[in-house]
Symmetry: C2
Subunit: 377 residues, 2 copies
């Protein structure tokens, strides 16, 4: 505080003399105009990590500009409901939002491609495709038709496959299940005989408890734990094949975006990339602890049976064939993403996967140094 | 340009009137002083992705401050040799560098922990430990004793295990091999009977060609391809168990770091996080293409035999026991990293690993949409 007061005093003195040198600094100031924006999040504050993605972007921007570019983040429902975040940006109610692109598949399935699609990319693949494989440009071509500019911001990593009241021993057990699962994943599940239900986060627990639904998917251990599903639907399945990653994103109102000076636009590009590193790190730190607590509390960890996985994969291809046949915007982006998918798994299965496999074997043997030290098993 | 000229004109006008409102902007300008720094990279420009990490940080900072904070990046050798980058920062020759922490294990093995150690964390684990598991603070406690402030900046992901003139069919084939491999990995390899050699990048190819050395490790497909190793040592092994990730980093001269206004320090934190997303994405995009080209050109892809992997793991534990017995700084950071390692693999083997495994099976079956479309096999 003292330092700033001193510098303000110095600035006033310099302005008083109005020398050429003193004019150099204000020339910079002109590129740092005071901008105050509102960002509506699709998430409640209680989902602190995913909600935190918007807070991270705002903090990075605010700090870098010494408060000149000030983004205020609002939780779902404070300005508009969570699932209307993108609409509030399109129509100019707010300048930006932080959301999951697949919330808007009701408008057009192509929306989902900026978030994740069933049997899509994992987090590393998604970022490579977005930033180097042409994904970002293709998506902005589409979102531009909605009056929006898109930047990815945060990632959850691969998610869990949801909570079930009863164990699933094979494909036949999926038939007729009422499951809280939305969007394209719901459409795939339907082909397996599942009856997809759209239920808001806060209503899932009572629906599972009463048996109105048989299963529900949410996010991963850390977020799922807080909603207490393990108490009423103890079978916890993996992997969430509809979310091999989830790339959160910011949408910006196009006019608002274009009104920004170039340095602020660049800063938002930097801040959103930084938020991606940060959110993945935060989930990767919190999820193991939460998984341990969930298991201690009685959650029964289960892998989806292979026939369920294979049938889901086949059903997903059918859904994509249907959509591609009638939706050029979807097909153009999907083809690009899928072309890269087979590339990325070609590489990831070599060094990355075999290293992790070896280390996971050592983990199961209890041979890792952290386990030998008795820190955990 | 026109817009800036106009705004400068407006600023001069406002200053002329010297009203209270016009003083608000210069108060911000004081927090954006002109700063011109030099960053020495440990890498040549030809390694464009890893060298690009420093360029990315500089670009993000320069653009966000509209050029006020201007970091000039110099390739290895332009100011100091690549392996002296951290020293040049410590002694104030330059304000910052971009380097790999393990280059300095000769001073103290603890240096390596800011980059990667054999059988250490993978990229996701490293970022979680650094930003949420206390790693960043522990490392800065150590690097602070060297007059440096540390920020991670960029990651290569898991690396390859190097090029061999002859096939390795088991542990016995490692005995007596002359291998270009440095630092802690060299120390581990010694316990397997390998004779580690330190050879600069440009000298590796002729040494392999003449048979002066039998094997050499470098980075991954994209970077390895440019040095042409496949022509003289065609057996290309994975995984590089000494580099389950490589977290590149910036070191800042402590006095330079402390002289920065808070907004610039925050911006560097943001820019380095962003550079991490960017570099991983770039490698993940370029490596599959390079791997494909290498295989087409005759590279023979091979997994390290399990007995080599197991013996290397055991040897690494012996090396750590030796270092921990005599080096408190190393032990303190290592214990924290290893405690988190067993945590992170507990979680990563659930959703992330099983999702990737399923998708890799589909890839091998040729069932991925990108393969069905005939894009590649």
């Amino acid at each position: 505080m003292d330092r700033r007061k001193f510098m303000r005093g110095a600035a006033v003195g310099a302005l008083g003399s109005a020398g050429a040198a003193s004019l150099a600094a204000p020339a910079i100031a002109q590129e740092s105009p005071k901008v105050r924006w509102r960002c509506t999040s699709s998430f409640p504050k209680s989902l602190d990590t995913i909600y935190g993605g918007a807070e991270d972007v705002a903090k990075y921007v605010r700090e870098a500009t010494d408060g000149a570019f000030d983004i205020q983040v609002y939780a779902a429902g404070e300005i508009v409901p969570g699932l209307q975040a993108a609409d509030a940006v399109s129509n100019g109610t707010v300048e930006m939002c932080h959301t999951a692109a697949y919330y808007y598949v009701g408008k057009d399935p192509a929306w989902a491609l900026g978030g994740v699609i069933p049997f899509g990319l994992n987090a590393r693949g998604m970022h490579a495709w977005l930033y180097y494989g042409g994904g970002l440009d293709l998506l902005n071509e589409f979102y531009g038709t909605q009056g929006l500019h898109y930047l990815p911001a945060g990632n959850t990593g691969a998610q869990m496959g949801g909570w079930f009241r009863k164990e699933i021993n094979g494909l036949a057990d999926m038939e007729g299940l009422q499951m809280r699962i939305a969007g394209l994943a719901g459409r795939v599940m339907e082909k397996l005989g599942v009856v997809p239900q759209q239920i808001a986060g806060g209503d899932i627990y009572p629906a599972l408890e009463r048996g109105t639904i048989d299963a529900a998917e949410w996010i991963g251990p850390y977020d799922d734990e807080s909603l207490g599903f393990y108490q009423v639907a103890p079978y916890y399945y993996y992997p969430g094949w509809w979310e091999g990653n989830l790339s959160l994103c910011c949408y910006f109102n196009q006019e608002s975006w274009q009104s920004l000076p170039e340095n602020y636009r660049s800063l938002l590009g930097t801040a959103t990339r930084a938020a991606t590193t940060e959110m993945l790190a935060e989930y990767d730190y919190k999820n193991p602890q939460a998984l341990r607590r969930l298991i201690d509390a009685g959650a029964q960890l289960r892998a989806y049976p292979q026939d369920v996985m294979n049938a889901s994969f086949t059903a997903a291809q059918e859904v994509y064939a249907e959509i591609n046949g009638e939706n050029e915007a979807f097909k153009k982006i999907y083809d690009s993403m899928m072309q890269f998918q087979s590339e990325t798994y070609l590489w990831q299965q070599v060094a990355e996967y075999t290293y992790d496999t070896f280390m996971m074997i050592k983990q199961r043997e209890g041979a890792l140094a952290g386990q030998q030290a008795g820190g955990n098993q």
